[in-house]
Subunit: 168 residues, 2 copies
DNA sequence: ACTGAAATCTCCATTGT
DNA sequence: ACAATGGAGATTTCAGT
């Protein structure tokens, strides 16, 4: 069985139909407010199939969210810190409690469970160093069961995108 | 001089006017396709000032992008890897060359210049381990002047948001 | 700066191929 | 599954306060 077409390269539960879905997604990722008409013109289709395809991708969860991205520096959240955390105890209960607390902290915009010597990696946004210090001392370190914490400061943003490219 | 009002807490070059701008941003961050009418109703204003405020925040760069966020798992990009890189030489020229190359690699969706023993942190999205291995060996390691590379694998996504909250 | 209304354009459902 | 059309509703502009 030859695996040449894009469709056959997709996972068994295919959420994308063909290259047209990918083209639509690429345009939407770059601009969530692009009109159906404009997409239709760019990919040489009429509006109805484009509309149908978008609704399908919304329904099956390929499209998670239409988000507005804000310039951190212009809204007084210009300091980004990558924060590594290890827990003292590793019971399931301890992990769940940590996760619940992290989800309530607005300064933490990302949190991942990771391989390596630490248990979690956090991306924290703060106004400045004083603001981050307060977060560190009064919020993060106060969480029950916290072991080690290590902060890595972001000095420059080289690249930041959400555009997933499907190049084959 | 008392610092009580939100306006006075803002940086001297204020990009946000007042709490209404913040309320509008909060709604837009959660849903880039919300209608002006709907925003107007929620913050008890008519459509025109809401429209004007959005246009102003687009023009002054507070609003960077209206983006569509896609479910990585459903488009065959389910493996996230945090990648640390140090360069051999640290001349300005070497850094610029690295940065240019990184910007051409679609697998790299974020790249930061960081404090600590490594020079850069990358967030890489791949289909699976084989895909990541190919990226690592054939693309990342091939970049001129690359020193050490360390990969940290993301085993679970605990939290992932872009919503900046201004809680005072 | 906000209100209210008028004009333009887009969406979305229906129909037809 | 895609093209074309018309009514509903949104965006956008422009008066007035």
């Amino acid at each position: 069985m030859p695996k040449s077409s894009l469709k056959e390269q997709m996972p068994s539960t295919a959420f994308l139909q063909d290259e047209k879905d990918i083209a639509i997604l690429a345009l939407l990722q770059a601009n969530a407010r692009i009109t159906v008409k404009e997409i239709a013109e760019k990919i040489h289709l009429s509006t109805s199939p484009v509309h149908d395809r978008i609704k399908r991708m919304e329904a099956n969860g390929v499209i998670k969210q239409y988000a507005t991205l804000v310039d951190h520096n212009k809204v007084n959240k210009g300091l980004m810190v990558i924060c590594y955390v290890s827990l003292k105890a590793h019971s399931k209960n301890a992990g769940v409690k940590f996760i619940n607390t992290i989800n309530e902290l607005n300064e933490v915009i990302e949190c991942y469970s990771i391989s390596g010597e630490f248990d979690f990696m956090l991306k924290v946004m703060a106004a400045n160093m004083e603001d981050y210090y307060n977060f560190h001392v009064n919020k993060l370190s106060q969480i029950e069961n916290i072991g080690h914490v290590q902060s890595v400061f972001v000095m420059g943003i080289i690249k930041q995108t959400h555009q997933l490219v499907y190049d084959r």
